[in-house]
Symmetry: C2
Subunit: 408 residues, 2 copies
C-alpha cells in the first residue's frame, strides 16, 4: 500500500527547497530553506532537555499552528547563547519573512552545530537572501537542503513514500533529517540534535497532534547514539493539503505511511551514529507496559558495555542482561528469552536464567551472529504483552575521536 | 585527626588475608581470602541491579549480622548462571567454612569477572584450600589479596587510616577494592562490579547500618566509569571490635575516618576507570535537594560527550550544560555558575546563561585547564543549599578496545 519512491522534501505537491553556503562553515553548505506554496498545518516536536537552544525557545513560545517556510542552519547550534541568541533566532525568522514576503510567524527556525557560540548574523542574513532566490523543486533541491543541514553526518537521511488514502487521494510524504551525535531524542509535541523536516501534501487538522506524538515516540524517540539528548532536537511536520483530498487525520493508511517514513529515518540516524560500524536494533517483547518495554530498550541501547561488545563482536551477552537489570523493569530471570540475530543467524542465548553456550567453541556461534552490519537483540520478558523497538549503534574508536576533537 | 598510614585489610587488629592462584585465570592471582580472629559485625551493600549474581543472591538471602571470613574470586562473576550458580556460591561458603572450621553462615562470598559462565568448582576448591593454609598478616598479605580480586584494574585500590576515637581508643580502618569497568554502583545496604572489603578493629553495633548507607551514598555510589551498574557490586565492612574501645556507632571521628577512606577508594576507582587517562570530579552546589545534586552529578559524569571532550581537552563546555539539562533537575539557566578547574587553573565559563569565551583564542584558556590529569567541573545551580560530589573518568580509545575484546 505504501510505496517507497525516490524523493525528498519537495516531492509532495507545493514544496520548494534549497541549500546554500552562508559562510558559517568554512566550505560546506550550511543553510537550508523550505517553503510551501500555501500555509501548511505544522506539527512540531521539541527536545525535552531543560537547556533549550534559542530557536527552540522561540518556536515553542510562538507555537504557530501553521508554517509556510522553515529555515535551518548548521555549524552553530545557537544554544547557550542567552538573550542575544533569542534575538538572533527572531532575526532569522524576520529575514526569511521579509525575503519571502510572508508573516514572520509563518517561519520555522532550527539550528545545529557547536553549542555556546554567538551566531554570525551577517553571514546568516546573506545565506537567507541567497536561499530565498534559489528555491526550487526536484531531487537536486532536496539534496542541497539535506546537505545543508548536516553536521557530523556522513550519509543523507532522506526518504519519500506515496500512499493512496481511503478516499482515493494519492498523497506524498517526504522526509529529511540530520543527526549523528548527541542523539537520544525525547521530543514532546507542543511544548530532539536531530533536526527533521517532514513534508506532505495530505490535509491534516490540529487534532493530528496526538498521533504525531505517538509516531515520534515509536520512531525518533527510540533512537539513541549516545544517550545524550540535544538542546536543539526539533522535528517539524508540514501538511499543506495540496493533494486536495479529505482530511487524513483518522486515515490508518496515512498513519501507517508516516510511521514507516519516520521509522526509516530513525534507523538511518542510528546507522550513521558518530563512528558507528553497526546498527543495533533492540526489541523488547512481553513487557508489562509499553513504558517498561521502552525503558528496557533504551537502557540496553545506551549501555557503553553492550555497544563496545557489539563493536568487537565480543560474545559477552551477560552485559545485555546486566543492562536489562538496570532498567528498573520487572521480569522473571528464569523465564526471560534472549536471541541475538545477525545476518541469517538467529541464536538463542538463555535457558532458565543461564546462557546456553558455555564453551569457547560454542560461543563462536554468537560471535558469528554479532559479526554483521546489523545486529538485533531480541528479548522476551515473559511478563505481559507490550513491545517496543529501538535503534542504536556500536561504540567505536571513531566515536571517541570525533567527540574528542569536535570543537577543535 | 585522621592519619593515612601505609596499610591494608590486615592493618586493623585481628585480620589475616591472602591471595592465591586457583587456575580460573590463566596465570594471575584469582582467589582471595580474609579472616577475622573473632566474628565481626558485618555491614554489606549490594548492587541494586535486578539481575544479581549468585553470590549476591546467596548473601542477601542469608543476611548474616556477623561474618568471620570473606572469600572472593576473580575471573568469573558467577552471574547469569541460574540454579547451578547459586549452588556454586553456597559450595564456596561451605568449603571455606570447612577449611577454617567455622559455620558456613560466617562466610561472605564475592565474585567478579566474566558474566554467564559456570564456575570451575574444582579449581575454586583447590584455591580455597590453598588460601586457608596461607593466611597471614602484613603488607605482603594485603597486596596478595588486593591483587587476587583485580580484573581489568591496573592499580591496586587500597588504603588505611588510624584515628583516635572520643573515648581514647586508637582504631584502624583498612580498605581494599577492585573496580575498573561496569562501574556505576548504586548499592543498598540490606537488601556496586566494585567489590570492596573494609576491615576495622573498632566496635560497631547493627545500628551503624544507616550510617554505612549514608557513607556509601556519598562515596562508592558517586563513582561512575560507564553508567553500567554491575550484577556483582558488593561492599563489605567488617568490624571486629578488637581495639577494645567503646562502641563507635555515634562517634563522629569514626564516621569521618570511614568516609575519608571510602571517598579515597571511590576516587581511585575513577582514576583507574577502564582506559581512563583523566579523573573527572563533578561538584554540584546550590541544588534544591540532595537527590537533585546527585542526579545532576551522575548525568554529567556519565555523558559520553562530556567524557570524550575531556579526553581530547576539547573545550566544548556546552556539552556540560546539555547533560545538566537532561538530568531532570530544575535550575535557572540565567543564574547557573560553571567553573572548570584543572591543575592550578580555575576558569569561569558562564555569564547570564551564555559562555564568557567566544573567540578561538580565549577558548584556549579552557583547553589548558582541561589538559590536566584531574579536571573538576564545578556547578552552582543557584537554586538551594544542597551539594554532591562524584567521580568519573574520560572516555578513551582504550575503553573501547578493552570492552570490545573482553571475553575474547
Amino acid at each position: 500500500m505504501v510505496d517507497f519512491i525516490d524523493g525528498g522534501v519537495t516531492t509532495p505537491e507545493g514544496f520548494k527547497a534549497i541549500g546554500v553556503h552562508s559562510g558559517v562553515k568554512y566550505r560546506s553548505l550550511d543553510l537550508g530553506l523550505v517553503r510551501s506554496e500555501v500555509p501548511a498545518s505544522a506539527f512540531v516536536g521539541y527536545t525535552s532537555n531543560e537547556v533549550k537552544a534559542a530557536p527552540v525557545q522561540v518556536m515553542m513560545e510562538e507555537n504557530s499552528p501553521t508554517l509556510t517556510a522553515v529555515v535551518v542552519n548548521s555549524g552553530n547550534a545557537n544554544a547557550l547563547t542567552g538573550r542575544r541568541g533569542i534575538q538572533d533566532a527572531i532575526t532569522m525568522k524576520e529575514t526569511v519573512a521579509s525575503e519571502l514576503n510572508i508573516d514572520p510567524k509563518q517561519v520555522g527556525v532550527m539550528s545545529t552545530g557547536l553549542i555556546g557560540r554567538f551566531m554570525d548574523m551577517q553571514k546568516i542574513k546573506y545565506g537567507i537572501s541567497k536561499a530565498a532566490g534559489e528555491l526550487s523543486v526536484g531531487r537536486e533541491a532536496d539534496n542541497l537542503f539535506a546537505e545543508a543541514i548536516m553536521t557530523t553526518d556522513t550519509i543523507k537521511k532522506e526518504c519519500a513514500v506515496r500512499v493512496r488514502l481511503s478516499d482515493g487521494t494519492m498523497v506524498y510524504i517526504g522526509a529529511v533529517s540530520k543527526g549523528s551525535g548527541m542523539i537520544a531524542p525525547h521530543m514532546k509535541v507542543l511544548h530532539g540534535t536531530t533536526l527533521s523536516l517532514v513534508t506532505t501534501d495530505a490535509k491534516l487538522s490540529p487534532k493530528f497532534r496526538e498521533k504525531w506524538q505517538e509516531i515520534l515516540d515509536d520512531s525518533m524517540n527510540m533512537v539513541s547514539v549516545d544517550g545524550d539528548q540535544s538542546t536543539n532536537d526539533t522535528c517539524i511536520l508540514l501538511a499543506n493539503g495540496m493533494a486536495k483530498g479529505a482530511c487524513a487525520d483518522d486515515d490508518p493508511l496515512f498513519y501507517e505511511a508516516l510511521k514507516i517514513v519516520m521509522s526509516k529515518i530513525a534507523r538511518t540516524i542510528a546507522v550513521d551514529g558518530e563512528g558507528a560500524t553497526k546498527l543495533i536494533e533492540v526489541q523488547v517483547h512481553g513487557a508489562a507496559t509499553k513504558e517498561d518495554a521502552r525503558k528496557a530498550v533504551r537502557k540496553i541501547i545506551n549501555s557503553p558495555l553492550v555497544k563496545s561488545a557489539i563493536f568487537g563482536s565480543d560474545p559477552n551477552y551477560g552485559r545485555i542482561m546486566m543492562a536489562l537489570g538496570n532498567s528498573g523493569v520487572k521480569f522473571n530471570l528464569e523465564e526471560v528469552r534472549l536471541v541475538i540475530k545477525g545476518g541469517e543467524m538467529e541464536v538463542p542465548i538463555l535457558d532458565a536464567g543461564a546462557p546456553v553456550f558455555q564453551e569457547e567453541r560454542s560461543v563462536e556461534v554468537v560471535r558469528m551472529a554479532m559479526d554483521n552490519k546489523e545486529v538485533a537483540i531480541i528479548l522476551n520478558l515473559a511478563n505481559g504483552d507490550e513491545s517496543a523497538v529501538g535503534w542504536g549503534c556500536d561504540l567505536t574508536y571513531d566515536y571517541v575521536r570525533i567527540n574528542a576533537e569536535y570543537a577543535t
